[in-house]
Symmetry: C2
Subunit: 212 residues, 2 copies
DNA sequence: CGACACATACCAACCAGTCGGTATGTAAGT
DNA sequence: ACTTACATACCGACTGGTTGGTATGTGTCG
């Protein structure tokens, strides 16, 4: 089992196998049960590796939490970077395209569409600053990717709003995170989708959709 | 609750003392560290009672979680029922009054203004159905108190909106819950307040404020 | 007395983290 | 070519402290 190596370019592919599997297991397990209720043994079992492998790659459970948040930032970042809405010519269409894209992601089971870092930060914000900061970076970094388009949409319309592009970008994240909580409480994606619909309507109203 | 029997007067002070203190300790401790990370021993220490008292009043940790959610519903319910915004004549003013009141509550430390049930449901929605349902009832019940005013505001303006009063009421809860997550991640109430400002602006736009 | 509200003592299961060991690859010395 | 030395990746038994929960005792009040 250990020696999946032994072929071609040395252990490049098989290497990091346990680490990647642990990170992947962390995403689903923590989103399902939360960070505190997820045990190291459970993660190891889900990933099909041993405890030795866990503590070889992560110096503590907290370190795994930080790594999981960073892994989440990276994989979701790549996913959004490759999404089709970036192709729209009008910056407002790109902003609305983003939110509609988020809405389209609201399918399947609750643990599949909810947010890892939103879940983790609730439990760790006071007790594990390293995880909290990693989660904060993830959310802020993601919101940042919206700012330029919002700013451009404001400029294109010659608007001088009483709010900032940054605050609207963060507000979209607040609505999504809150929608996830509602989905968890009510056991389905429908409530979440309705809340996202209100967000879409808000952005359209803000930019005077229909009058443009 | 059940044991409020006995005399209407007389030595009532000490009675139920442990239960009330445990519930109170649960509110602050769970909001700070989350449900899973909060231990029974810790709760007992914070409440100044022993473990025997804990398991005398609650048959399990999960039962405490359910009771805490119900206690939360009741105390916050009384607080909102007594809030001044109910006195406004215009139903829209009552709706906006509610949201502005929520914004005014965003002071002090993060564990002081965040929501118990929003925190708990994230960790327990898959693993403790009884707690999840208690949290769902708390959120839905609270949202319900807004519906009549939203409905009245719609009727007063003769509107036929493409959304429902129920969905807007739930959306306000989503924004608040999401704002709490942002506050936890960024370590302050400011982000939360800005998100609530966007919610206020949305409601004003929805009802055509300025043109009424 | 007997029910109730608590306290004390205790336990089995579980937890994060440790440690000595093995398998494999790599690079330098000879 | 072959050893020596070191690094990486992983294994799994073990540990000491913690956890939720229990069994039983004690004081008080009606």
């Amino acid at each position: 089992m250990a020696a999946r190596t032994g072929k071609a370019r040395a252990g490049e592919t098989a290497k990091q196998d346990a680490k990647a599997k642990l990170l992947e297991a962390a995403l689903t397990t923590i989103r399902t049960k939360g960070y505190a209720a997820t045990t190291v043994d459970e993660l190891c079992a889900a990933a099909g590796v041993t405890k030795g492998a866990f503590f070889h790659h992560f110096k503590s459970k907290e370190a795994l939490g930080v790594a999981a948040a960073e892994h989440w930032s990276q994989t979701t970042g790549e996913m959004f970077a490759g999404a089709p809405y970036h192709g729209f010519a009008d910056p407002l269409d790109r902003v609305l395209g983003y939110v509609r894209f988020r809405k389209s992601l609201l399918t399947g089971g609750v643990p599949e569409f909810t947010c890892l870092v939103g879940t983790m930060v609730q439990e760790t914000y006071e007790t594990a600053p390293a995880i909290r900061d990693a989660c904060a970076r993830s959310i802020s970094g993601h919101a940042k990717t919206l700012e330029a388009d919002i700013e451009a949409a404001i400029a294109a319309r010659g608007m001088v709003p009483g709010w900032t592009a940054a605050s609207l970008a963060l507000h979209t994240q607040a609505v999504l995170q809150g929608a996830f909580i509602l989905a968890k409480a009510k056991g389905g994606a429908d409530v979440a989708a309705e809340s996202v619909d209100h967000l879409i309507r808000y952005i359209e109203l803000l930019f005077g959709a229909g009058t443009r």
